[in-house]
Assembly symmetry: D3
Homo-oligomer: 246 residues x 6
């Protein structure tokens, strides 16, 4: 399964840094019929550091087998998790398929320190993380489903990087654009990123105007979405160069 | 199914603002045999703003059908959620039956801004909320089961306001008295609100006295609940006008 | 089932206070084949007060029967929870088997005040707690699965203290050594506590050195775990008396 | 929310009795974009009696409150479940929103005997049933999520019939067409029933032909869905009057 | 915690063999306020052999620790499961607290063969069983939550027999009377067994009469529960010696 | 990750057809420390046709994206599920990673008819199947987690065959030996198949002897596992050529 060969411009990434994950999901469902692009059940380790945008770099875990793990009778020599962490390009988001397992922590402070050094933009895993106290003090935003003190090999085995994965109910193809904030993490198909960024920005500008109207007493039944009256007023305001007062 | 025709006085509401949800549940089970009045699984968006009291104003969602939703082939024109939000009386608590769905956010910052304008006392939903960052900065306490970036129409449809609903395992009749704090949200049948408020206040006054005894070394086996000795001492202390030192 | 007759020295407890729960789980699985010693699903009430170490003092709850509870027709006179709380030795950790029930709160502020007075080191329950606001202001670290306003007797009955229990998927024998921090709670079989403490401390010293290497750009594929080159360098550094610069 | 004013002909119902629920879901998603019309988690009480078709007649339960239940202090006099069961038209399917509760049984043998007398076509509930042994000997197909010995009032309260409900994740509007078989229960929006019936029947005729090809050795990569070659052959066969041999 | 010192007569056990678990739960809630006496989530291995009645003989499992298990470094010599199975009195029901674990099978064909030899009346476990094919051919009714091929020591450890346990959400005191049939398993507090048996039998006799009325066309709104008219007719029928025709 | 290059002889497969999955899990844990080789939550579609043995042929699904599915805007042309089903070697077991999804059916009667034609030994999926009625009449044993009428593309996308997968909590490497019966499905690492088969057969022969002893009244505390006395008697019996009477 191939990723679309689409260049993502810095302008698109900049726009997406201004647009919320909530707006993006609205764009994806309303304009593209994509209902399931929000990763289920993940939360930021540090709620004050939840915002990031970048292309997905994927890692896939499967259940462990005791003899293949560290300390087992036939431990594997290769470790795709390490290789991926040493190879991730700057600006990328590591997206990890842990199949929902929160009994262990996939990454701890040393692996995340390496991601920081590599310039990764963020981490999303539908499973657990560990070394939470030191991780919380690092600059990398991390989303996960819970905290698990045991090392990943207690119940999981890393099998490959950069394959197509599922993460929290969402299909992730390497190179898809990942956007995270306090509401959660949404994954935009690469070929839609630019369109969603532009339309999302338009939507947010109108909603900021609507919010000010509602703060001032406009009923949502009239202003959100705007009826003909409010729509005309909004267009006038845009035509007038978006003056401070609405 | 009719609500009891009972007036709730400002005194009752004031008492309930002083009494914890923990105390209220104790009153409901011990004196009235009501074991299931605490809404399961909800948490405050802002733990420092979790306290509110008010009558329930209900809203009921059911699963969505793609053709009836925004962007579908036959979108509905009516929207009971909007109508309810524009109509909720000041001081009321919006209680939402989302059937536990956290894949979406029922309300975002614009709808909650409208609830703020209307003077709502709080929001409780057994599903997700969205636009969490701006919502956290608003004055309205909101309890929910999780955060969902997608709009409600991605998986839910609002069908009616002010009907009898279930929310987090609790029967809620419009007009029931909702009390929330850090422990969670409890729903008092309207006809019991005054009695529960008064007895709850009595219970808390005694427990404050017991707490000071326990802080000073009294065994809980003797002081909590108070045995005859401690009960006599407590009554003396009350008779003495509740002096500072216990 | 008997606990191993092993003395835990203050030195061991001191070492364990410096070692993370993540490191301890690694020791337990890698050196002793124990994969399931981390209590599933519990979180600290106050994330900034999550660290404690001490021997387990256990309490077991089972489902309630309405007639045996407070307010029922044949309420029990004995209450093993109270007896245990009045008897727990200073430095011990109360570990509670609630069978995962978060509909109620096992302990509230008065019972926890008593544990503070007794000098307990911490509380772990695989169920709910109540009176969260006052509890958060007390000095005792408390881990639980959620908050439940209703009193424990709404759905649970305490049956005995100091028996062998399961808590969040972990076998706990009274006297096992419990270690908690931000990642969660791990339970060390008493006979292994000293060995795990010493080896865990060694592991953490090496990992601190590795972390500085990784912060400086070392690939994890070479430095974590250290290959022959890094291992030699580490040993040199240790031999040199662990100088500040690495 | 109004049901579409569409007459369902006996021909449509007859066609739907021949078409499987699997085919219907394929039609609904492929031709109408409706992904969520299959009721989650329900199974037939008697797997050999799982097939039925009919318009939905809905019943809604919410969580119980002890004082309102049979045996409580203020038991309700009305019982919408009884009224609905005495009123259901012949040929209808009773669809019950129990919010997933399997701790109780909504209907037992007496209520189901009444449904048999009324000529109901089937029962679907996203919760429990009781009196399973006698129910299994009755002529009415019943789908449910489990068996619960306790009566419904132990945890549920019936609030209304013929409202819009959710059942096992599916929006059900009274009058929607319900089709059940061994695979489960699917709910067709009333306005689509005729179209789905006709296209579903076409699909099944072609798939029966494909199945015979596959039984004879045709690769599914060529025959299912049929490529140009197989499609031409199928059309020839249809044009030839569907002879016995394929 | 002591069991009530109450003798259960053979007459009571005989009555309970005629009364359904559904009727017993109705008696327990309506007359005694006991809502949670039905074991959650268990099913008979052989649905055609689901009926039994007898006093509870309890067994408690907790999570395993690898070193204590068969094949571990310090395997326990005692095995309370074996001791209990060799000691269970004829006519008793083994009730097992497995904490819901279906990853393993607590009992296989050899242990169940021993229970058959001992004359046990039945087995109920809120976890898994194994050797299902041979077990299905044995005469002992077994209820469980699922089938697990691995032996119990893969994740569980038996700690004691004849203690107070929870099983599927129900408090079970050794000696409580367990009644099972196709609807599930209900546990009657020993002191209520006789009363529940007698009143349950009365209830079933009236319901059999009601069922015949309903089969003949009586509306449930009038006949179930019987209104004054039907109640008078029923009493007449009873007074007439319960003639065949109703 | 490479499979071990080990030939599985017909003798090994024959032995494994005689040995139960319960015995195999005992061998794997007791002799090899492998605790998690039993696929969680799967059941046979036809309990009377549950036994099969064969090497694993794997298929991996991830969550769907609406635009890539049949009927979407950019449907994929390749379908790894079809390719795999057309290519599976005779005697192999198709093991499918559906990530637990039972909302859809991965395979229906046409795809399973193709597997029958190809001579597959069985199917195991940790998700749903469809067309259950015709499937039940086919000769292929199928294990799954539930039945889902909707086609797989309603929520899943097949991405590749013959990769390392997780299925119901078990690591499956193509070529691992899969053994199924009424208790469930166990996956033996290829390099252990022969050893497990031989030792499992030995274990079952002894257990058959033990079972006859227990049927005749031997306490399990003495005979299972056999103490020195019984062990000596068993060895004598074996030495005597295993005569009919024990």
């Amino acid at each position: 399964m191939q990723q679309d060969d689409v260049t993502i411009t810095p302008e698109t990434l900049d726009l997406l840094r201004r647009v919320s994950s909530a707006t993006i999901t609205t764009q994806l469902i309303k304009n593209h019929g994509l209902r399931s692009r929000s990763i289920r059940g993940v939360k930021p380790v540090d709620p004050s550091r939840a915002k990031f945008v970048g292309p997905a770099y994927t890692l896939r875990y499967v259940p462990a087998r005791e003899d293949l793990s560290l300390g087992g009778k036939r431990p594997l020599t290769e470790n795709p998790a390490q290789t991926a962490i040493d190879a991730i390009p700057a600006g990328s988001v590591m997206v990890i398929d842990m199949n929902g397992d929160t009994d262990v922590g996939a990454l701890g402070d040393i692996l995340i320190a390496r991601l920081v050094f590599r310039g990764a933009a963020g981490v999303v895993a539908d499973g657990g993380m560990r070394d939470i106290d030191p991780v919380r003090q690092m600059s990398l935003p991390v989303f996960c489903r819970g905290y698990g003190a045991p090392p990943s090999f207690a119940s999981l085995l890393a099998v490959e990087a950069q394959s197509v994965i599922g993460c929290g109910g969402v299909l992730v193809i390497p190179g898809d654009i990942v956007v995270a904030d306090a509401d959660g993490v949404v994954v935009i198909p690469r070929y839609l990123a630019d369109q969603v960024a532009r339309n999302g920005d338009d939507q947010e500008q109108m909603e900021a105007w609507v919010r000010r109207k509602v703060d001032a007493g406009a009923p949502v039944g009239e202003a959100y979405p705007p009826n003909d009256h409010y729509l005309a007023e909004y267009k006038q305001w845009v035509a007038a160069g978006r003056p401070e007062a609405v």
